[in-house]
Symmetry: C2
Subunit: 454 residues, 2 copies
């Protein structure tokens, strides 16, 4: 036999068992998005490269999968260009389209393209695969799903509140205990302002984040090594050493940032979101975390990130507010805020904690054994009724040896097997075997339906 | 403002209303597949080109979307090759991967790759997009969904029976009246055998198909023009003029093909499938149609095609048996049979006949008007309870003018609006407005839940 065929590295096949688990994840997220009034859209896998290029930084451009123009892709390409051999330039000549890299840029493109049809605020969710030519490694794939919800066309912080409620509800449904971390880009801008080192914000948050591990002295040494002036480091001390609950943190921040208008605005935003959430009885904790910095060049207001409490894994959900998403496509002034669930990591967490509901694994409820043509005809007629009652059933298609049929039922984890032979047909009944208990009894088709359903 | 961004030709965005309709189609097909014991799998959008090339004929190879290798795709490509400028050859040097063209070849690849994990017979369904660089035209897209179900590893004709039951059930659920046409590749081979013109089968079926339109004489003239000998045309007469129900047709065929072993086998297969179906009370007619020829180079047994009775449109579902699907990947001797629903055409038919269930259009059930911070806080608390009851609700995020909020509710087709002002808060009640009836009344949150739910 020839060697087994394979699939491109970084991509995956999903078997029936994995699909059942993934559908459980997607269905849960989808149902919660719908409960909060979000509507689903889908965009094409391929976008024009002009839509995608330059939106994800230089590194992102390199990670785009580009699609060769169909037909004579060399047409019009001059011999000199080929000779030069500049791959970036040539790729742009050979390819007009690329696979989407995330759902955010296609969404921005969608909003601008369809602006005349949309009623604002527009609350959309989108669950589709994205593709990145990243180096594949454990837990990182070249094709993976994103599950995004965004609101555009509303500045209201109630959107932030509801998105955090959605996060809380989804993880409660999964049974995953999480900490929802929140920060605000304006607070980070405020910090940069008061210490006069706007370009050092990433270094500062990275250093502060190490406090527990390396201690205050080492944090300060690291800050100095990053080129931050001693005076600025001094000003940062209350923030670095900040402890306590969200209210206490906000009080320290308000003091430290009293000179920064934008910083105070960020504090007010966080305060409003946290106060409003307090009355809504979330099941998970929302924690103000000033070291949270995600996507600095992108977000402009509140930012969120979710950590699982019982599994060591990176962020499993993230999001935030961006004030100019559609500006890149010529439609400025539209504020947006969104979140994105990381389906692949949630899949791993649910597996590690064994949290899938029992019914996730069940496909077929009932299999009819096949003893031959007459018995099969009898079974098929009964099965028509049984399926009308919503029971998923199948007949073993060949009248193979009993042992083979039963091992198929076992391998498929089918909980009930129906046996129809000469005697059963005479009586118009069916022998129903409970594969878990190992018991069997003779029942009418109606009794069978109620047995299997319960 | 800059010119609107667009999407590649032949691709589509799906708006919330379209998505709701498409989800209705996919969910219906999915639920019926599951009722018959089929299990879902998914395969990656990208396959190795070695998996795809040569499987769809020369024309198909040209329609594959190829993905430029990431990094330096020119590496190792000799200058002579570039100079030659042979696009096919160069595409093969620049690209290792392509987008899947259908779900059948990836499924064959899947079965061979995972053969050690599979229990046969393997009944899988798969609902995913495919991509073809076809010339876009009305109703033909470069990205579209296929909804396939296949059984591999079983020769039993019960699989054909159940697949036809699935077709019947799905279209009954949609409320689309259809004719399910069936033929058998072995019958066509038999016809070719007895008239000694195996290479003319397509010409013959095309000509026979025109009988109603152009009359017997012209059909015979056309057959002669195709180079079919007079003797063969004479032998074909009973088949061309064949009329009546399936039994009568089979009787004529059995007579005409009495000399062809394979032809008789095809007749027996059709007979078994039709006889077995007779007892299963299908809601749509299954018609033996000897002019049905689809994919001659591919199928080896029964073939099916579904036509809508009340709309002029091409085939909306098709399928058949193929005896050597996995042979191309080095695993011979595995028979398969499958069907594929054409989601895009079904979408058009449901639209034309206006058959979508009423609830397909409803997203959010209830919108809270936003009068300000305090009212919003009161509303959010009530909404938490309301959502727990499964009601999809949202609050207008900004305390905008009433008129703006109400026109948003109207544009979104939201059937109920909740109004919470000073008076309502005092009483702990909510003013609920039925947007269809135009009535409003003051209710408790509990009463609101039962009102909206009914």
């Amino acid at each position: 036999m020839a060697s087994k065929p394979g699939i491109p590295k970084g991509t995956r096949d999903f078997s029936p068992v994995e699909m059942a688990k993934r559908n459980y994840i997607f269905d849960t997220i989808r149902s919660v998005y719908a409960l909060y009034g979000f509507q689903q859209i889908e965009t094409p896998a391929m976008e024009n490269l002009s839509t995608l290029m330059g939106k994800y930084g230089e590194e992102g451009d390199k990670l785009l999968f580009k699609i060769l123009n169909s037909g004579n892709f060399m047409a019009g390409v001059e011999f000199d260009e080929l000779q030069e051999g500049q791959t970036n330039k040539l790729a742009a000549r050979f390819c007009e389209k690329g696979l989407r890299y995330d759902l955010t840029v296609p969404f921005a493109r969608y909003v601008v393209q369809h602006r005349d049809e949309l009623t604002l605020p527009f609350k959309r969710y989108q669950i589709q695969p994205v593709w990145r030519a990243d180096r594949p490694q454990k837990g990182r794939y070249r094709e993976f799903y994103q599950c995004d919800a965004d609101v555009v066309g509303s500045d209201s912080l109630l959107n932030e509140v509801e998105l955090i409620q959605i996060i809380d509800t989804v993880f409660s449904k999964f049974g995953i205990r999480v900490c929802i971390k929140m920060n605000n880009r304006k607070i980070l801008t405020g910090i940069a302002e008061i210490i006069g080192a706007a370009d050092k914000i990433v270094d500062i948050t990275v250093a502060i984040d190490k406090l527990d591990k390396i201690g205050l002295e080492n944090v300060n040494t690291e800050l100095a090594a990053c080129g931050i002036a001693q005076e600025a480091i001094d000003k940062l001390q209350p923030i670095i050493c900040m402890k306590g609950n969200n209210d206490e943190k906000l009080a320290v921040m308000r003091e430290t940032l009293s000179e920064s208008e934008i910083g105070l605005k960020g504090i007010d935003e966080c305060f409003f979101v946290l106060k409003t959430l307090e009355k809504l009885a979330l099941r998970n904790q929302v924690e103000l975390d000033l070291t949270l910095a995600r996507g600095l060049n992108y977000y402009t207001g509140c930012i969120f990130e979710v950590k699982a409490l019982d599994v060591e894994i990176g962020s499993i959900t993230g999001g935030g507010r961006y004030d100019n998403l559609t500006g890149i496509f010529g439609m400025p002034g539209l504020s947006g805020v969104g979140i994105s669930f990381g389906a692949d990591r949630i899949f791993d967490v649910l597996n590690q904690l064994d949290l899938y509901p029992e019914e996730t694994g069940v496909g077929t409820d009932l299999m009819f054994v096949n003893f031959g043509e007459r018995e099969a005809a009898f079974s098929l007629a009964a099965m028509t009724k049984i399926r009308m009652a919503g029971i998923r059933c199948e007949i073993f298609p060949d009248s193979a040896k009993m042992k083979k049929q039963m091992s198929y039922a076992n391998a498929r984890n089918i909980p009930f097997v129906a046996i129809v032979g000469e005697d059963e047909m005479k009586e118009g009944k069916i022998m129903l075997k409970d594969m878990v208990k190992g018991e069997q009894r003779l029942v009418t088709p109606e009794e069978l339906i109620s047995c299997v359903k319960s």
